[in-house]
């Protein structure tokens, strides 16, 4: 992969004794959409916040367009901020209720000196058009818009500086089904037209399948599997990925009735004191003695997929977590 827009190298973020993120490496290529999937407490949002330096990493490196920004001061970072942007889950809490939509979108444009005077308004109207809103919307306030429209405003603001990297943290999770469809379509269209790289953080497997070229799955602060989207869905290797895919109900009653759910034992362990060996072993239906003592490394298989599981063979043959008998 030449010329990545984002490179996270062995990123760690510890909050006191809590190891929220523990050695995560992700690369987002120019124009590539990488999905970061995980459940609550997996550390996926912390990775996103560290990637745009809203949070300070404890260790590892963050490179944006090849520049190491890990320890850069806020002042030095400021001119670079136009290269990357973050879109949050809840548009009503990330838009200032006292500003008009026009002011909200214009703010980063003015801050980075990308346009002046009348050109600012023209640029705002152009951006509103690109996210499917009308020029009149510029004079309204956030509370006058629906949830879907507000999320379009967040996207317009993020794109106002024409970033190379967009980090989107659950951008569609608070939206209704039909609104979610239109926001996902919008993100897909804009990404294709503008060619920005995107780190798409979500718990929604169907959304990530729709948007991402490649997917990284996180569990308890670490990446357990990484693969191109189609390969991950067709042939999940890690038992956790298999469980995750099997648990999400399919919106089709006939199919859903025939599906087998992999039920995980117990609960997510505390990141204060993650389990020894493989962090997933306490809940893995396939765990053997080795998993309890030896930490599996994130291995790269032929074809470039990555997985960290002792039970996946050298040739990539993976165990089946839905029939745990043959493993022991």
């Amino acid at each position: 992969m030449t010329d990545p827009v984002l490179e996270l190298g062995e990123l760690t973020r510890h909050f006191g004794p809590v190891r929220a993120v523990d050695g995560v490496s992700i690369t987002v290529g120019r124009g590539e959409v990488v999905g970061l999937v995980g459940e609550s407490g997996s550390g996926k949002s912390t990775v996103g916040r560290c990637a745009v330096r809203l949070d300070e990493p404890t260790g590892g490196t963050v490179r944006i367009n090849g520049t190491d920004v890990t320890r850069m001061s806020r002042r030095a970072l400021r001119p670079l901020r136009k290269d990357f942007h973050l879109v949050f889950q809840d548009p009503s809490s990330s838009l200032d209720p006292r500003m008009t939509i026009g002011q909200i979108i214009a703010e980063p444009i003015k801050l980075h000196g990308l346009a002046k005077g009348d050109a600012v308004r023209a640029r705002v109207e152009e951006l509103l058009g690109q996210v499917g809103l009308r020029p009149e919307h510029a004079d309204r306030h956030p509370h006058e818009l629906s949830g879907g429209q507000r999320q379009r405003i967040s996207i317009a603001r993020a794109l106002s500086v024409d970033p190379d990297l967009l980090v989107a943290d659950e951008p569609t999770s608070a939206l209704d089904v039909s609104v979610q469809a239109s926001v996902l379509n919008l993100l897909a269209d804009l990404q294709r037209d503008r060619g920005f790289g995107c780190l798409f953080i979500t718990h929604d497997l169907a959304a990530v399948e729709f948007l991402a070229d490649r997917i990284a799955v996180m569990y308890l602060g670490q990446i357990v599997e990484q693969a191109p989207t189609a390969e991950l869905f067709a042939d999940p290797k890690h038992p956790y990925t298999q469980a995750l895919l099997s648990a999400a109900p399919v919106p089709d009653p006939v199919t859903q009735r025939t599906r087998e759910r992999i039920v995980l034992n117990g609960e997510l362990p505390s990141p204060l004191d993650p389990p020894a060996g493989c962090r997933f072993h306490t809940r893995c239906p396939l765990a053997v003695d080795r998993c309890r003592t030896e930490v599996p490394e994130l291995r790269t298989l032929d074809g470039g997929r990555q997985v960290s599981c002792h039970l996946v063979a050298e040739d990539g043959t993976a165990p089946d977590a839905s029939s745990p008998v043959h493993a022991n």
Binding site: S178, A181, D204, F233, A247, A248, P249, V250, P251, P253
Partner: protein, 344 residues
Amino acid sequence: MSPDPVREEPVLSVRDLSVSFRSGERTVHAVDHVSYDLKRGEVLAVVGESGCGKSVTSMAVMGLLPPTATITGSVRLGGRELAGAPDKELQKVRGNDIAMIFQEPMTSLNPVLTIGRQIGEVLRRHQGLNRKQAREKSVELLTLVGIPAPRQRIEEYPHQLSGGMRQRVMIAIAVACDPAVLIADEPTTALDVTVQAGILEVLQSLRERLGTAIVLITHDLGVVADSADRVLVMYAGRAVEQAPVDELFAAPRHPYTRGLLGAVLKPGAHAGGTKRRLPEIPGLVPSLTEQPDACTFAPRCTLADEQCTTRRPGFRAVELTAGADARHKAACWHANTMTKEVVR
């Protein structure tokens, strides 16, 4: 499941239920003539998007709406009329015959009382059990909802439990008095998918083991496909379609249901890099301050004609074609003429 679902008397029967709220000069019609029946051991999913009235309908059934709400219509539970019943009478019914669980279990549990105390409270109040009996029954209930080490758990406080475990406790409290009907309002929305799977299994086991009838309010069509026997689709305060689950997904007869099913993401549909656009429903949900004598979906509907904008369609059984079910109803002037296949 019920032996003869067609002939058996419903445990809950809602007829022409309407709810409106006065807000200054305006009146908001949150629920507009909704009717449904629920039989023993049946799971009815009520689906729709924010503001469609699915939660308000259930709050009205439970008698939990504030005095600012105007409620008309009938709610019969096991032959007893609940609509307009005095609050004192409703307090006896709630918890005993009908119970409800909500999306966020932490806000429904008292943080300073142990789990055992909170389950025991219901048992002692409604069933007159003594402290010791209540304790034994609490352990039994926690086992029923799949909580490991129940004897230890009843001594713990809500904050010591995970979100999934808290929701299981809420279910245990709700079914403590073996209610005929359980209303579950988005019970898994705040939970991770692997946790959600466990909660859905608990709900299934309740209906199988206790015969509890469940109203499952959700916006998630995956959850509907997983757990429901029958589905009621709501739009802008009105019931627009009702059908057995397989038939609703295979042959929806209302354009809104079709739009919803088209817009939902299906795993596997986009594999192989085919970035097909998702079908969208154009336009916005109408304001609920008016009750037009028209189809409220007409402004967003591709099939809308003059009739749709001038006359309100009744909620009627669809014409029986081969394989169609007599319990399939739709509120659409075109329900009997639209092509059978779904746009997917």
